[in-house]
Amino acid sequence: MDRKPQPYDDIPGTTVFDAQRARKGYHLNQFLYSLMSAANRKEFLAGEHAYLAKFPMLEEQRQAVMKRDWNTLLELGGVSYALAKLAFTDEHSYQYMAAEMTGMTQKEYMDMMIGGGRSVEGWRSKKERGEA
């Protein structure tokens, strides 16, 4: 079933984790939740596909996990707080994951933050940006 459009879909560069995405992402997010245990992190890193096969996820979700394709994982129902556990398993930070999602380098992202962050001007609406 196609996604039913929501008013917040107009916010650019933002994937709101709502009920529709939560349903699609349920097993993906439960996999990510399993990475809270050190033993599971070790097992996952030792054989990613075999570990992922234990969860009834979509194959495209498994592929996106192995590629660390963060924005696709958001589209496929992953929620950022759970995705962060994958970044932590790789010994990266939230900030690393956020920078990857923007397509900026770590340094560019960090410099933007130190400079006061991304301004909301121009980032309020897809319509305003000509993206919708």
Binding site: P7, A19, S80, Q95, M113, I114, G117, R118
Partner: protein, 291 residues
Amino acid sequence: MARIIAGIGTSHTPAIGAAVDNGKTAEPYWAPLFKGYEPAKKWMADVKPDVVIMVYNDHVNAFDFKIIPTFAIGCADEYPIADEGWGPRPVPPVKGHPEMASHLVQSLVLDEFDITIVNEMQVDHGLTVPLTLLFGSPAAWPVRVIPLAVNVVQYPAPTGNRCYNLGKAIKKAVESWDEDVNVVIFGTGGMSHQIQGKRAGLINKDFDTRFLDGLTKDPVALTKIAPIEYLREAGNEAIELVMWLVMRGALGDGAEEIYRFYHVPASSTGVGNIIIETKDFHAQRAKKSAA
């Protein structure tokens, strides 16, 4: 009679906890932030509350996706520290107040707030980072903590208005508890930030400033901010600010701001800290310092 004496608003960014745990607080990136929290830490050491009600959100640590409670109160004796994916933070376990917590649940449910009861759970940075910021790094936390977890992970979070009214009901519940204890209530999370998607890194200082101003000038106006406005104007994760409205609702009319600090960035977050004393407690403190 128990009483709420003050509210603390504070961000709970995990990187702040990591900076303390890894001894980085004096580094140029972090030093201004920790300096900015010094007055609040001093206030806390001075006031020494008996109980903290910690309004925070779990970040997929205590709760996975099997059960997502909108409002949950911890009624346990003790809360272990969660391993969020990099090992548990090296901080002491959190001591609860099961008797008072159960009383709050009873009072709130009879007041028509349908609270989920949690008798066992681990707590994550949402709860421990505010403790670290306000109480430092003691061998044991000097207060008992009643965790109140709010769902902000799956949209929609409860509205600001609902949170504010929950705060009012908490005030009433606390005041009907017989023990003579001073309670400080925390609203945590925020302020503006977004940690996902191509728009990650969004900060809106004007929005945050208006929010801090509104907490004492016109809290009712803040309760009218629609969920989509938080997301659009202040970032996807700024919705956490509704938890500050639980805190504000619990302070009653005429509460006084006595300290404020704002700093960008901690990781991807606009960090805010505010201390608001209730009208009665503020008058009592003023009298004491005049004497």
